[in-house]
């Protein structure tokens, strides 16, 4: 019971972070702008007829394989936003000194870190899903006024929902990863630099020099889980379920390391 109360408190604390609020606002504004662009670009019937991938054709919101569809584009921004917000939630605690205040209320560090991790996971999932819903809803006027719903049968709606849940899950995993890295580094910027360096430099170098090792890279596994298909044009086989299990295993290791470090670390500054 106390753990759940603490998790709820951590969620409220995270939602009070200015950066988190700004990121949500930016996502809402960009979703609205995207909806406006979709609407305006669908008004010319000739251009619209020629553009079979236009998002005013509802079936293009999500396509099997997830390439060039509306939702796939959103996933990239959601993952980046989750990394920034997750790192900020944990990093700012160290910078602002609220860590000491919290520890005088919750002396069990494992419990505190557990609650923080769980709250980041839940919040990221819910926020990601809500933003996706809003983002897709912003394209509804274009569909209704100029587009079509043809091809959107029950199985398509099911696939769309499943894709949204997967994107929310990946967003949630990335947020937890960022929280853990920021807990280890005690700093938001350090966490973001570490995440970016890992994803954009180290993994790319490894995948470039040893293509077969690509199946162990986070980016390849994320790129497999989101569309839920085996990647094409790669030298390895990685079924989506294996990719998801790999991501969960990596995450469990990082969370365990962050928890162990946090439990033993001296909190010697305010």
């Amino acid at each position: 019971m106390r753990f759940l109360r603490l998790t709820a408190v951590e969620m409220r604390r995270a939602l009070h972070r200015r950066l988190v609020r700004w990121m949500i606002l930016i996502a809402v504004v960009f979703s609205a702008l995207a909806g406006l662009i979709v609407f305006l670009s669908s008004r010319d019937p000739i251009k619209f007829a020629l553009d079979q991938a236009h998002p005013a054709r509802m079936v293009n919101w999500w396509t099997s394989g997830g390439e060039d569809d509306l939702l796939g584009t959103a996933a990239i921004f959601l993952v980046v936003g989750a990394a920034i917000c997750g790192a900020s939630v944990a990093g700012a605690e160290w910078r602002s000194g609220t860590m000491t205040t919290m520890l005088t209320w919750v002396p069990s560090r494992v419990r505190l870190h557990g609650a923080r991790t769980l709250s980041a996971a839940l919040l990221a999932f819910v926020i990601s899903f809500s933003i996706q819903v809003f983002y897709l809803a912003c394209s509804v006027p274009a569909v209704a006024a100029n587009g079509t719903t043809s091809g959107t049968d029950a199985s398509w709606w099911g696939a769309l929902l499943f894709a949204m849940l997967r994107i929310s899950l990946v967003t949630s995993l990335v947020a937890v990863l960022a929280v853990s890295i920021a807990t280890i580094g005690r700093n938001t910027s350090a966490a973001l630099v570490a995440l970016a360096a890992w994803a954009l430099v180290i993994e790319r170098l490894v995948a470039g020099f040893w293509p077969k090792l690509g199946r162990f890279m986070i980016a390849e596994n994320v790129a497999t889980v989101v569309p839920w298909v085996q990647l094409s044009d790669v030298d390895f086989e990685r079924p989506p379920i294996v990719a998801l299990l790999a991501l969960l295993t990596y995450l469990a290791a990082v969370v365990a390391a962050a928890t162990a470090l946090f439990a033993r670390r001296d909190v010697a500054t305010t």
Partner: protein
């Protein structure tokens, strides 16, 4: 008397990338009895905050033991912390939230309701500003908010690290009265400070540490009485004539240019008065040569400096 805080042989060394470890606390032994206000004094860098952090499990001790409310820390912190309110250095709160929201959030961890939050804010004089964002608060108001947070749990023990930091004289007086009141209400207040006058006026007991070691500890009155020499300070217009008169009566007298210091206990003040009056010298001042906590503190820490 039951000890509410018991520290034995506490040592804390901070490892450094280069050079020898920094020894912040060096074999500290301390016993804080239950009830009243206990002053924990020491110059900057003497190990006060590190000792508090060790007690509260924020840093791990290199060796030694700490016990709070009769239970070993940090092992049993989860059991005792609901009965301990603490401020460690400048209390950090969410600047974008109001004071009330901050306390409600903290209180929610222990299931403390809104009424109690309002009472705590009133108690520290923040009732009227409770719904203002913390980022608009002065340092003194933040200190008071930290105190309100510490009081939320209705704690048996309050551990306050420099609670008067940043307060103006009126704020200091309010905090002083608040601490006294809390002591009278049955809370034990353990307060670290370098504001010696404040401590002298507020605390029942005191411990002085320097370089991580306990220098002395006891009731404030006893400590000061022990440090005071049994002498009288005598003010007369003509210091030389006064000194001669008293010396002729066989008394040991020193002059510091403002007063005569006569080596006699307070109970013999009448004898001094009579000797001077018989010689046609009239007193402008006569008082025991007592030592203030500040003088005692400075003499002890200066002595330690020389010895080291």
């Amino acid at each position: 008397m039951t000890a509410i805080i018991e520290i034995e042989g506490l040592r804390k060394e901070y490892k450094r990338w280069r050079g020898r470890p920094l020894r912040a606390v060096d074999g500290l032994d301390l016993s804080v009895p239950e009830g009243g206000v206990f002053g924990f004094l020491g110059p900057n860098g003497s190990g006060k905050t590190t000792t508090i952090r060790c007690m509260l499990g924020l840093v791990s001790a290199t060796s030694g033991t700490t016990a709070v409310l009769g239970r070993a820390t940090p092992a049993e912190l989860a059991t005792i912390m609901p009965r301990v309110g603490a401020i460690v250095e400048t209390p950090a709160m969410f600047p974008t939230m109001t004071a009330r929201e901050n306390l409600q959030l903290l209180g929610a961890v222990d299931g403390i309701g809104r009424r109690r939050v309002a009472q705590s804010l009133e108690k520290v004089g923040l009732g009227e500003r409770a719904d203002h964002k913390v980022r608009t608060y002065s340092l003194g108001m933040r200190q008071r908010l930290g105190l309100a947070a510490a009081l939320l749990k209705d704690p048996a023990l309050l551990v306050l690290d420099e609670p008067a930091n940043g307060l103006d004289p009126a704020g200091m007086r309010e905090i002083r009265e608040l601490l006294r009141m809390l002591g009278r209400e049955g809370h034990t207040v353990f307060v670290s400070s370098h504001l010696l006058t404040e401590v002298e006026q507020t605390c029942d007991r005191v411990a002085i540490i320097d370089r991580g070691k306990l220098i002395l500890s006891g009731r404030v009155d006893d400590v000061l009485a022990e440090a005071s020499r049994p002498s009288l300070l005598v003010g007369v217009d003509n210091l030389d004539a006064g000194a001669e008169t008293l010396r002729n009566a066989g008394l040991s007298v020193e002059s510091d240019g403002r007063y005569l210091r006569v080596a006699l206990p307070t109970s013999d003040a009448a004898h001094v008065t009579k000797l001077l009056a018989d010689a046609g010298l009239y007193l402008s001042e006569l008082r025991p040569d007592s030592v203030s906590l500040e003088e005692l503190f400075l003499s002890i820490t200066a002595h330690e400096e020389v010895r080291s």
